[in-house]
């Protein structure tokens, strides 16, 4: 590793020693406390210059290489700071899309407000169009200088707390389905917008559904041309560039002490079967960390292949399931008793039943495991694609 990176690592470490919040999990037992902590931690990071290392040169905190970003993420995971959940979409998805597709005027309008803490969410998924984005049906009709939008969006992360929304809508039903999509920036305070949290099975509400009833969006708030929405959406979807999974894998590795502690407390440290299951899981987690690390290294070196990202996501989601399942198993009956969740506590809070259920968000959301398997087989390995249409004939057999 280069000296410059070592220097950065040292600098981040020193900064964290002073600024990293302590005992934040214990205080994050209500939604209000969670929101307050997220906002203040974000402000601290902006001030320290560590909130937007991925932004282009010239923007505050920006201009860091991917290798530098990796160092920053590693150090934050190591210090076990709160993840930036509330402003993640703003600083990554919204900002990256604006940098790539926004006009100078649009960038000047939105980017500074992100620094001030404006929250963005993503309005892509719909009922009936989860993993199949091309099939989405929220309709925008142009009337003069505005689009009039009607429809419903689902699985919008933190949508109930957001100010702005990256909205993918259908402006045409002609031609291939992807060609009829357009990308708009929606002010969530506009009339006709209702955002409601989705009650998740483990008690958290990190997603919202958004109802759009004759909502008017100025044409000036469109990114790219009408009908170009699919392409704009691709840059939103690829904006976080593998850092998240690197961080999450490292945090899972760091949380293995929770299982080890339970084993000790239950005096099962001489149970050869438990020891082996623990050792096996550790290898699997280490492999997941290594594959996330390698993915980012390949990306930095420009060697990434289509489908590589799916491998990392699938490896992580399956391993997270194994991790939480082992915790749940060793937790026994105690893990079945309800305990309040830690808001924003991550995927491994030691509240095993909650963590286990939460792990389903990773195997389902953001492209389910099944969709990732299709991508790996078809795009990375070049196996024939699932036919887009087929004729069903009854077999004679």
């Amino acid at each position: 590793m280069s000296d410059a990176l070592d220097g950065l690592r040292q600098e981040v470490r020193e900064w964290l020693a002073v600024h990293a919040p302590k005992d934040w999990r214990a205080h994050s037992t209500s939604e209000a406390a969670f929101l307050a902590m997220q906002r203040s931690w974000f402000a601290t990071l902006v001030k320290g210059g560590y909130a937007m290392p991925h932004w282009p040169e010239g923007w505050p905190g920006g201009g860091r290489s991917l290798a530098e970003q990796k160092v920053i993420y590693e150090e934050f995971a190591r210090a076990d700071t709160p993840r930036l959940l509330l402003s993640f979409m703003s600083t990554y998805h919204a900002a990256s899309t604006l940098f790539e597709w926004g006009s100078a005027e649009q960038q000047q309008r939105y980017i500074p407000r992100i620094l001030e803490g404006e929250i963005w969410c993503q309005g892509f998924s719909e009922p009936g169009a989860g993993s199949d984005l091309a099939a989405l049906r929220t309709r925008a009709e142009r009337k003069g200088d505005v689009y009039v939008v009607n429809g419903q969006k689902l699985w919008s992360t933190m949508g109930q707390f957001a100010d702005q929304c990256l909205l993918l809508v259908r402006t045409s039903n002609e031609g291939v389905k992807q060609a009829g999509l357009t990308y708009l920036l929606l002010d969530l305070k506009a009339p006709g917008v209702t955002a409601r949290p989705i009650h998740q099975i483990h008690g958290d509400e990190e997603f919202a559904e958004i109802f759009l009833d004759n909502v008017e969006i100025p044409v000036a708030n469109r990114l790219g041309e009408e009908g170009q929405g699919w392409a704009v959406a691709q840059s939103t979807l690829s904006s976080e560039r593998g850092l998240t999974l690197l961080e999450l894998s490292a945090r899972m590795r760091g949380a293995m002490w929770r299982i080890a502690d339970m084993i000790r407390t239950q005096r099962r440290a001489d149970d050869a079967g438990i020891l082996r299951d623990l050792g096996k899981l550790a290898s699997k987690i280490d492999a997941t960390c290594a594959v996330a690390d390698q993915f980012l290294a390949n990306r930095i070196a420009g060697l990434e292949l289509v489908g590589d990202a799916s491998i990392v996501k699938l490896a992580y989601s399956r391993t997270l399931r194994d991790f939480t399942a082992l915790g749940l198993r060793i937790g026994g009956l105690d893990a079945q008793y309800h305990a309040p969740i830690t808001f924003g506590g991550g995927m491994e809070t030691g509240n095993w039943m909650a963590d286990f259920m939460n792990s389903y968000a990773w195997t389902i959301a953001g492209g389910s495991d099944e969709v990732q398997r299709n991508i790996i087989a078809e795009r990375l390995l070049g196996m024939p694609r699932e036919p887009k249409s087929w004729t069903v004939k009854e077999s004679a057999a």
Binding site: D132, I201, L328, G332, L333, Q336, I364
Partner: protein, 314 residues
């Protein structure tokens, strides 16, 4: 016997076919009105003498629609009383006066203890029925909201001793086997319902221009679930019909059944996709009951180890 089973199954299926889960109080009334609490009790004790056959059918039906309430605990009390001369108490229990018992150990995990007149206290060498009144209760809410468990303070041990010494050991084993049988039945009923629900969903929901049920990768997973379920059901009835099946063999069978329930409930969530992650869809109810069933009455680690150890001793 096969006729009895299918007759029982038809009646049970008709009783619960509405909401998921049905209202707890109404369910309890229905269960007592239909005489389900007396079905397993020998005829000379005022029951219907249908034994394990009835236990299996009833708890499969309760599991299928996630019926709330203390039926398993109640049946343990009834079983403990039915071998004794406590006819009056037995009659009250069969008529629906709530009496509870632990679904775990000692005085923990007792369903609906707050409305129970008595509780069964199982110790290694002594099994007694104690009045609940005057005892401290601690509600232990589980993720599964269809069960209401309590820990109970020991307090006064005064009560009716039902068995001591070797007789208590024998009764304790019988109760353990019965608890496993009931939890297994509940698991298989729930697994069956969750699998049906999933198949229905796959046939209805379209993605990429066709029903999900046409995707072969999903069909193969459904086939594996069905195979596991049918095999677990067959094992269940084989053990239920085997008069020699004791606490360990019933426990191992329960671990197997609960494992299949959990597999199916997990796959149900995954195959339902996003909607399966929300409280508004009943998928999660099955998963929560499956994991609780797996943890109650001794988990798979416990029973599989015991079964393996006995096999080596043989």
């Amino acid at each position: 016997m096969s006729m009895t089973r299918s007759e029982l199954q038809d009646a049970a299926a008709k009783a619960f076919d509405g909401d998921l889960p049905p209202d707890a109080a109404q369910s309890w009334t229905l269960i007592t009105d239909m005489g389900w609490l007396m079905m397993a009790v020998p005829e000379d004790q005022g029951g219907l003498g249908l034994g394990r056959e009835a236990v299996g059918v009833i708890h499969q039906a309760l599991g299928r629609t996630l019926v709330a309430g203390p039926t398993i605990a109640q049946m343990l009390v009834i079983e403990a009383l039915s071998g004794t001369a406590q006819d009056e108490l037995l009659g009250r229990a069969m008529a629906g006066e709530v009496m509870t018992a632990s679904l775990a150990d000692g005085l923990t995990a007792m369903p609906d203890a707050d409305r129970a007149s008595h509780l069964l206290f199982i110790e290694p060498e002594r099994i007694a029925l104690l009045p609940t009144q005057g005892r401290g209760l601690t509600a232990r809410a589980t993720w599964d909201k269809t069960r209401r468990l309590f820990d109970v303070d020991a307090g006064e041990q005064q009560g009716i001793v039902l068995a001591r010494g070797e007789a208590a050991v024998a009764l304790g084993n019988r109760l353990s086997a019965l608890r496993s049988l009931a939890l297994a039945a509940d698991s298989l009923g729930g697994a069956d319902a969750a699998l049906r629900m999933t198949i229905d969903y796959l046939e209805t929901r379209r993605q990429f221009g066709r029903p999900l049920a046409l995707f072969q990768a999903l069909k193969h997973r459904v086939a594996d679930m069905k195979t596991a379920l049918v095999a677990a059901e067959a094992l269940f009835w084989a053990r239920a019909d085997d008069p020699d099946a004791d606490a360990i063999s019933m426990g191992a069978m329960k671990a197997h059944a609960a494992g299949v329930y959990r597999l199916i409930a997990e796959e149900a969530i995954q195959l339902h996709g996003g909607i399966g992650l929300t409280m508004e869809h009943p998928c999660h109810l099955f998963l929560k009951r499956a994991t609780l069933n797996a943890a109650l009455g001794g988990d798979a680690d416990h029973w599989e180890e015991a079964a393996g150890r006995r096999m080596l001793a043989a």
